[in-house]
Amino acid sequence: MNFVYERFLGGKNGALAIAILAILILVIFPLFLDAFRLNLVGKYLTFAFAAVSLVLLWGYGGILSLGQGVFFGLGGYAMAMFLKLEASDPESTKIQTTPGIPDFMDWNQLYELPWFWIPFESFTFTLLAIILVPSIFAFIIGYSMFKRRVGGVYFAIITQVIAVILTVLIVGQQGYTGGINGITDLKTLNGWDIRTDSAKLALYFINALLLLGVIMLSKFILTSKFGQLLLAMKDKEDRVRFSGYDVSNFKIFVFCVSAVIAAIGGAMFTLQVGFMSPSFVGIVPSIEMVIFAAVGGRMSLIGVVYGTLLVNFGKTGFSETFPELWLFLMGGLFIAVVMFFPNGLAGIWNKYAPKVPFLRPLVNSSTNAETKSAPAKIESESTIEPESTTEGAKS
């Protein structure tokens, strides 16, 4: 029990932060928002998966992926393929040339289901594919990049290129993928109509719980020695390598984990929004995900959820009033965050909340709260105050 408390929740401060987030998304939003707005928040929370994945990969691992949309898309498409097959039973597609196949295949003169679609008739396979396809894909990319010690800007560019390639592939292969329109007209999940308000409410809760679960799993990873090694690698990769660690394996692993997290978000997106299209795979969504993480604070698993919500509320609000200005505003926001608040909302919170008396108990005592190792000292209680050590260090 204590293990779960320390490692999955992150001790007192971490548990409190998760509890507040849980109350917000599990109680307050469902109570105060109408069905339409709640579904919108549900959609935003699926992006939060991608933002959380970037905390692991970018915040801690120092590996900037500008292609998280690829994994979001892989998860989303896997789910969409299953739902589309279920929606394309011979009865409801009987006006097609070939009944029983998805409508867009029929329009593109396909007369039978392509081989890679067939396994997606199984729900179990689909669930496995949502986890396995992105992790295998990430493993291949990660292995070929990190074993050759490709990193930094080069890695970011390559992930961006992969996002473009996948988008072009999806758009170009209309008969197999639904093309630019994506996979639409999704109706039921194992006979359960996902378009009803009650289904949307249930999916909202499943999504919120999954997000909390993913945050706790990430917390477990970051509070382990693995998390410390990620920070160490970001700082001095060679020192880690010459301390007997195979650095590339750690990078490959964190890349795979982040891919799976983003993919779960994608699958939940498809379920709640009811379609999947290449506009959630390419460069723009991938960079938006990075902005969500930057605004929320790339070192904070909880902060990025608020960051995602804030940016998306802003996007919806502004693009209703000034649609043409939104992109400029978003770009400006990103620059402002990077320049003035490099730790995002979480950084602002940690800096200013201690000055407000009633917020003080909620504030993490250390900026590195995620990796604070519990038994940091034992008998030597004579630890010098940080101020005096600074002076001692300067002299």
């Binding site: 160490a232 060679d238 020192r239 007997g244 660690y245």
Partner: protein
């Protein structure tokens, strides 16, 4: 081509060339068990390159490096470390964002795989080891201090401490006292004399005063080759050495 020897480290006919320039040229050198060897030489003599070759950072063009009669030249860096060779870099290479305690704990040689590190538990043994090493490097009162705010000398010690955590059989230090105050130099000399009791140590150094304090056997490198080898007195009296290095 590796010959079996009683030496801990046997470097034979080692050459590395960068675009035709031989930074290390047919170098042969043996290090005994529990020996402290100081390598000196003018800038560009190939001292740091030699350490890079031993720890696998640079791959050799030809020749052999055998550690406990095991060939090292084809092994990956982390495998060389696991075989028992630790290396300190010239500029302090520590994790600035972690505390002194975390710096040492991360260097503990367990949980070195991905899954091992995920389920690594800080046992009493780890804590005991961290405290022992912290005491050795005089940082026992700074365990909770973020490494970034340590003084330069303390950072150098911390990195030595991180290597001691791994208890290597061969420890290689690249200019450990560069940028240190006189007092810190003395303390580092004492530290080196203590830690070389159960292991072999190779030290690269420029500071002759410091070398005299620790050296038993000195190797002088010049243009990738060994110019002289022996006790400090013998090396200092060597005319070739005086000419290229000490005389200036």
């Amino acid at each position: 081509m590796t010959t079996t020897t009683d030496f801990l480290l046997a470097i034979e006919d080692l050459t590395v060339s960068f675009d035709g320039f031989k930074a290390v040229d047919s170098l042969t050198m043996y290090i005994d068990k529990n020996e402290l060897r100081v390598v000196i030489g003018p800038n560009g003599a190939g001292k740091t390159t030699l350490l890079d070759l031993i720890c696998g950072k640079t791959k050799s063009s030809s020749g052999s490096i055998s550690f406990k009669n095991k060939e090292m030249t084809k092994m990956a860096e982390h495998e060389i470390v696991r075989a028992g060779i630790g290396r300190k870099f010239q500029t302090p290479s520590i994790y600035e964002n972690l505390t002194v305690y975390q710096n040492l704990e991360v260097s503990y040689p367990e949980g070195r795989g991905v899954f091992g590190s995920l389920f690594f538990q800080t046992t009493d043994e780890v804590i005991k080891r961290v405290n022992e090493v912290a005491k050795e490097i005089q940082l026992e009162n700074f365990l909770d201090t973020e490494a970034a705010i340590l003084s330069h000398g303390q950072k150098q010690w911390l990195e030595i401490g991180m290597l001691l955590m791994q208890d290597p059989e061969l420890l290689m230090l690249d200019e450990p006292v560069a940028g240190m105050s006189a007092k810190e130099r003395d303390e580092t000399a004492e530290l080196l004399n203590r830690i070389c009791e159960n292991r072999s140590v190779i030290v690269i150094e420029h500071d002759m005063e410091f070398v005299k304090k620790i050296a038993r056997k000195v190797t002088v490198l010049h243009q990738g080759k060994i110019l002289a080898e022996g006790t400090m007195e013998k090396v200092q009296a060597d005319e070739k050495v005086i000419e290229v290095y000490l005389g200036h």
